[in-house]
Each structure stands twice: as structure tokens, then as C-alpha cells.
């Protein structure tokens, strides 16, 4: 049995030594070198969506238990979207520090408003348990985030 215990230990240790697959998602670093709050919450949204997708691979829970799990993740996605929408005000408060010209300020505010509206829609979808529509909504949010980062991240330092 010593062989059995040893092999189990080796297998568990090898499984534990892995990388965080979400590392590549961490954009929007602040001046502290830490990911900005909105980037952390955006990653949280993707992680929750991935968890919901992974339920497709469960085969011991009954379908109704899976529905309960989906509703749980849906609720958490709604909460994350609400937090991220609130975080948009913090992003707007950073505007003076960015030293943008008038046109750039208008663009920044438009993108911030778009993000806030998309978050509101995502929250609504999650609260109403419209699970199938959530991936498209997340994709739109990603596009807005990418646009904003492409335009302003260098300017913001």
C-alpha cells in the first residue's frame, strides 16, 4: 500500500503545480502595478461565466440541480455587473489626471457611459436568468473595454 499512497501524493502534487489561466486577462493595471479594480471585476465576470459553462460537463447532478447552480452563478454575475457599473464613476473621476483634450474627454466619457449601460443590461439579463444571452453581452463589454484601453491606456500611464 505504500506504493499506492506515494502515487496518490505525487499525482495530487503534480495537479496542484499549475498556472493561473486567467493571468492573460488581467489588463488595466493601475499606477500601483496592481490590476485596476474594474479589470479585476471584469475577470470575475469571465470566471463566473466559465464556471457556468463548465456545468455542461457535470454528469452526477440532475438537470434541476444544474439549473439551481446556473441560477446561483447568474446571480453572482448580476452582482459583479452591478459593482462594475458603480466602478465606472471611479473611472470618470480619474479624467482630470489623464490630461486629455476636449475631443478625447468626450470620447472617454462616451465609452464610460457605454460601459455603464452595458453593465446595466448584463445585470438585467443575469437577474432575469437569461443565461443564453449573457455571453453576447460579455462580448460587447469586452469590445468596449478593449476600445478604451487602446485609446487611453498609454495616455493614462
Amino acid at each position: 500500500m505504500k506504493t499506492l499512497y506515494l502515487s496518490a501524493l505525487v499525482l495530487i502534487l503534480s495537479a496542484c503545480s499549475q498556472n493561473n489561466q486567467y493571468a492573460h486577462l488581467e489588463g488595466g493595471r493601475s499606477q500601483t502595478g496592481q490590476p485596476a479594480l474594474h479589470a479585476v471585476r471584469d475577470n470575475r465576470l469571465h470566471e463566473l461565466m466559465d464556471r457556468m459553462d463548465s456545468l455542461m460537463q457535470e454528469r452526477f447532478m440532475t438537470e434541476q440541480q444544474l439549473d439551481v447552480e446556473r441560477r446561483k452563478y447568474s446571480r453572482q454575475i448580476g452582482e459583479a455587473a452591478r459593482d462594475l457599473a458603480a466602478n465606472v464613476e471611479t473611472m470618470i473621476a480619474q479624467l482630470p489626471r489623464l490630461q486629455l483634450n476636449a475631443v478625447e474627454q468626450t470620447t472617454f466619457l462616451a465609452l464610460a457611459g457605454k460601459l455603464r449601460e452595458e453593465m446595466r443590461q448584463l445585470q438585467q439579463l443575469a437577474e432575469q436568468n437569461h443565461i443564453d444571452a449573457i455571453p453576447d453581452s460579455l462580448h460587447e463589454i469586452n469590445t468596449t473595454c478593449t476600445s478604451c484601453h487602446a485609446l487611453f491606456r498609454k495616455l493614462g500611464g
Binding site: D50, M61, D67, K72
Partner: protein, 499 residues
């Protein structure tokens, strides 16, 4: 046609313009314009005639098809949506005979998306129904066979791991018995909460290698917080079961216990953490080792590979198994603590001799998220007289009766630890270790199973969410009270396609 009265007006206006104009050079231009307008009107009228003719032709064809369907007594549900949404209408201004078929089609409600993922609503009701399942093919290469037509060759059955010389070496098995079919329904009610029903089948009804007998896995309904029917025992936290290809599961996991029950579930929140408590009455079934002095059986056989034949199931129970469970459902996973209390009862079918003893046990289980989608799953349980719950497929008995008829509960305990790692969104692995042990009184047959252990390690690939291919290695041992043991090594390939 609204265009027709416009022509005289237009003509009058143009005439006025011509009369008041000092120059008559535009005369020819106006004539040309009127001529062009007249040609366009003719073309439009011709197009409308052709369209109406085509609509009438299609209506006749539809009527003909419906008549044929009625004749062969086939429902037209499949056409309902199309018939309703694409019901032909006449172009404005052209008379058409109203078709009775079109009106009937409009009366039929369309099939709509249900309230739960993967369901649709029964027309005219609030009930959403869904159908699904999967096809799973398993190919198993066993280091040793469990024997002719035995379940142990198709899934891990701890009590069937051969000890001694029994069993063919290097055996291979193919089967698709884990393929499943399920049906569910969901009906919201305003007063009592939602009504859910669920049924699920697989094909493990007969352990014979080439028999595909359907087996009922789940059949339950619930209204609000009250559930009744057959499903997973409340003692088991299903979320903690490891992600193994082998449906038999790990040693130490309460895998195969689905039984009839009634259960109340009450959700609540404590310190911001969603929680729930559950209380259930579940079907009792005492499994006993009985000395041959009390009744004739194989309980004292020296053959170490008799599986269930050592045990007696009197079906003489008088009380349901009572189970209570507390669930914590924080964002980082879930943890549950369950307790069972039950009476283990023996009644001799010939003499009427009776013995009973109360026993019970506890089970701590959960799934904790770690990095990304990775998670740790665990179970740990201990009890006296609850061995039926502690390990699968006749591994241990709940109690033993000696030659004088005295009953003594079997102490049973076990645990399981599993780590699931997602290499990316398509590839994942699980490594699982489990053990379970039953401590019998000293007078029990020494060829009974004393301890079982298993290790599962797998690599699974899901290129799309509806398909999965995987390979799994299993190492499992069964040790008898007398110290002898048997080892099973298995490599399993599986393909699973969901719908």
C-alpha cells in the same frame, strides 16, 4: 388602391402649372412624365396580380397538405410556428377569399421558449418541458475480470475486486450502459412555489454484459420546498463527487445511493452566506451479516469472491431512515454536514425471531474553488450501522448477528479527496483518492471485505461543450479481514456526446 385617385389630381396640378406658365416649353416634358407614370402603374398592377395568384396557389397547397396530415392522423405541431408567423396575407387593394385554414392557424398558440434553460412551453400552458441526455461509450481494459456477467467489469464495484486466483487476466469490456435520457418540467405557481418534475434513466438495469435493460435513476417531483420521489440520498453532497469517467466512482464516496424519499429544504442566510437546511425521510434497507446458525445462507463461505451472497436483506424495516443536512453555499464553493439516524432490523422469515438496533453516522463533504476553474472535492464520514451509505455495491454490512442471535452494529468510516485541474477551457484532469473501512465483530466471516482503496487519474477533452473524450487510469484494492487482498488496475477510454 390608393394610387388611382391621385392621378386626376396630379393631372390637374400639372395642367394648372402649364396654364399659368408663360412658357409652354415644358409641355413635352410633362407628357413624357405622365406616360412614364402610367407605365409604372400598369407594371405594379401586373405584379400585384401575379403575387395574389401565387398566394392563392400556396394556400391551396397548404390546405391539401393539411388534409393529408389529418387523413393519416398526424398532428401538425411542427408547422404551428411557421403557419402562424408566416400566415399569408393579401396585398392591399386586391380582393381575396378568406381561407378558413389561415384563421385556424392563427388560433394556434406558437411554441415558445421555456422559463428554464433548454426547455420549451407546452402551448396554452405555463409548463416548460425539456428533454436531454447523452450517449456514452466506455472501453475498459481490466487487469483482472470480476467474473461472468458482473457489474465489476463495467464500472468500479469494490466488493467485486477478485481476491486470489479468480478472474480472467487482461480482460477487455465494451459497453454503452451509462447512456442516459432525462425529462424535466417546470411550472410556476403563484401560491405554492414552482412545481418541478424530473425523470432520468440509464441502461444498468441488468449486470449481464450484453443486456441493456433500462434502469430508473431519478423520478421525483417538487412543489416549493417539498420534494418527493427517488433521487440522491440527502446524506450525499452530489457536488462533492469526483469527475471520474468511471461511474462507479471512488472508494469512500457515497456514489450509488439513490432511493425513494421525501424531503423538505429551507433556504436561509447567515452572516451574508446563503445556506439551507434539509430534513428527509428515506427508504430504509437493512443489510446484515447473519450467522448460519440463525438461517441457511452463504454467510460463512470461505470463497472470498461472493459479493452480496454473504449478506441478508430481510426487508423487515419499521422506520424510515431520518437524515438532516446543513448546506453552506458561499461564492467559493459549498460545504455540507449531514447526519443519518436509522434502525437496523432483522426478522427471521421462518422462526419470526427479531432483533433491532439504532445506529447512525455523519458525513462532511464539499467542493472548494481554488484557481480559475480548479477545485478540491472531499468527503469524510463515520458511523455505526450506516455502512450501506458508506461504500458502494455491497461492500459492507450494517450489522452482524452472532450464532445466538445478538445484533452488533458495524463501525464504518471512509473518505475521499479529489483535485480537478482545468488545463484550459477544453482540457481538464482529476486525481482522486478514496478509502473506506468496515470493522466487524470478531465472530464475522474473515473473508468479508475490511478495507477498500482507489486512485483515479484522468485526462478529459471537450472540444465543444456537447462532446467529451477521455482516458482514465484506476488502481483499486480490496483487503479482507484475514489480510488477503486483491488489486484491480484499469485503463478506461470513454466518448460522451450530449444532446
Amino acid at each position: 388602391m390608393s394610387q388611382s385617385p391621385l392621378l386626376p389630381k396630379l393631372f390637374s396640378m400639372l395642367l394648372c402649372c402649364w396654364m399659368v406658365s408663360p412658357v409652354h416649353a415644358a409641355d413635352e416634358d410633362i407628357k413624357t412624365l405622365l406616360k412614364a407614370l402610367s407605365q409604372q402603374m400598369t407594371q405594379l398592377q401586373s405584379q400585384v396580380d401575379r403575387s395574389n395568384s401565387r398566394i392563392e396557389q400556396l394556400e391551396q397547397e397548404l390546405q391539401h397538405v393539411r388534409a393529408e396530415q389529418v387523413a393519416v392522423n398526424k398532428p401538425v405541431v411542427g408547422n404551428t410556428v411557421q403557419a402562424t408567423t408566416a400566415a399569408p396575407t393579401k396585398v392591399a387593394g386586391v380582393s381575396a377569399s378568406p381561407g378558413p385554414i389561415t384563421d385556424k392557424a392563427k388560433e394556434k398558440p406558437p411554441v415558445t421558449v421555456g422559463d428554464v434553460k433548454g426547455t420549451f412551453k407546452i402551448p396554452g400552458t405555463d409548463t416548460s418541458v425539456g428533454l436531454g441526455g447523452f450517449v456514452k461509450m466506455d472501453t475498459l481494459f481490466n487487469s483482472v475480470s470480476a467474473g461472468r456477467d458482473r457489474l465489476g467489469d463495467q464500472q468500479l464495484a469494490m466488493s467485486q475486486i477478485p481476491v486470489g486466483a479468480a478472474g480472467e487476466r487482461g480482460q477487455v469490456a465494451f459497453h454503452a450502459k451509462e447512456s442516459r435520457l432525462w425529462f424535466k418540467s417546470f411550472t410556476p405557481t403563484s401560491d405554492w412555489g414552482d412545481i418541478n418534475t424530473y425523470m432520468e434513466f440509464d441502461f444498468y438495469g441488468d449486470p449481464a454484459t450484453y443486456a441493456y435493460t433500462p434502469r430508473l435513476r431519478h423520478a421525483y417531483g417538487s412543489i416549493g420546498h417539498f420534494l418527493a420521489g427517488q433521487t440522491w440520498t440527502t446524506f450525499l453532497n452530489v457536488a462533492a463527487l469526483p469527475d471520474t469517467l468511471d461511474v462507479g466512482g471512488s472508494a469512500g464516496a457515497l456514489t450509488s445511493l439513490r432511493q425513494p424519499l421525501v424531503r423538505w429544504t429551507e433556504p436561509f442566510s447567515w452572516l451574508g452566506t446563503p445556506m439551507e437546511w434539509q430534513v428527509a425521510f428515506e427508504a430504509p434497507r437493512s443489510r446484515l451479516w447473519v450467522d448460519t446458525a440463525l438461517e441457511t445462507s452463504s454467510s460463512k463461505s470461505t470463497n472470498p469472491n461472493l459479493d452480496a451472497a454473504y449478506y441478508t436483506t430481510p426487508n423487515a424495516d419499521r422506520y424510515p431512515d431520518l437524515i438532516a443536512r446543513l448546506n453552506l453555499n458561499p461564492d467559493w464553493g459549498n460545504v455540507s454536514l449531514a447526519a443519518v439516524g436509522r434502525q437496523v432490523r432483522y426478522t427471521n422469515g421462518t422462526t419470526g425471531y427479531r432483533q433491532a438496533e439504532w445506529g447512525g453516522g455523519v458525513n462532511l463533504a464539499g467542493r472548494i474553488n481554488t484557481f480559475g476553474l480548479d477545485n478540491i472535492r472531499f468527503m469524510a464520514h463515520y458511523g455505526k450501522g450506516d455502512a450501506r451509505y458508506v461504500s458502494t455495491n455491497n461492500t459492507f454490512a450494517d450489522a452482524a448477528l452472532d450464532q445466538y442471535g445478538a445484533i452488533e452494529l458495524v463501525e464504518a468510516y471512509g473518505g475521499m479527496l479529489s483535485y480537478q485541474h482545468w488545463w484550459d477551457k477544453q482540457w481538464r484532469s482529476s486525481v482522486t483518492y478514496g478509502f473506506a473501512q468496515g470493522d466487524y465483530p470478531t465472530y464475522a466471516n474473515t473473508v468479508l471485505s475490511h478495507q477498500v482503496q482507489s486512485v483515479h487519474a484522468n485526462l478529459l477533452w471537450s472540444p465543444v461543450s456537447q462532446a467529451m473524450l477521455g482516458v482514465e487510469y484506476t488502481y483499486a484494492t480490496r483487503e479482507l479481514i484475514d489480510g488477503r487482498d486483491g488489486v484491480l488496475q484499469r485503463v478506461q477510454f470513454s466518448a460522451k456526446y450530449s444532446f
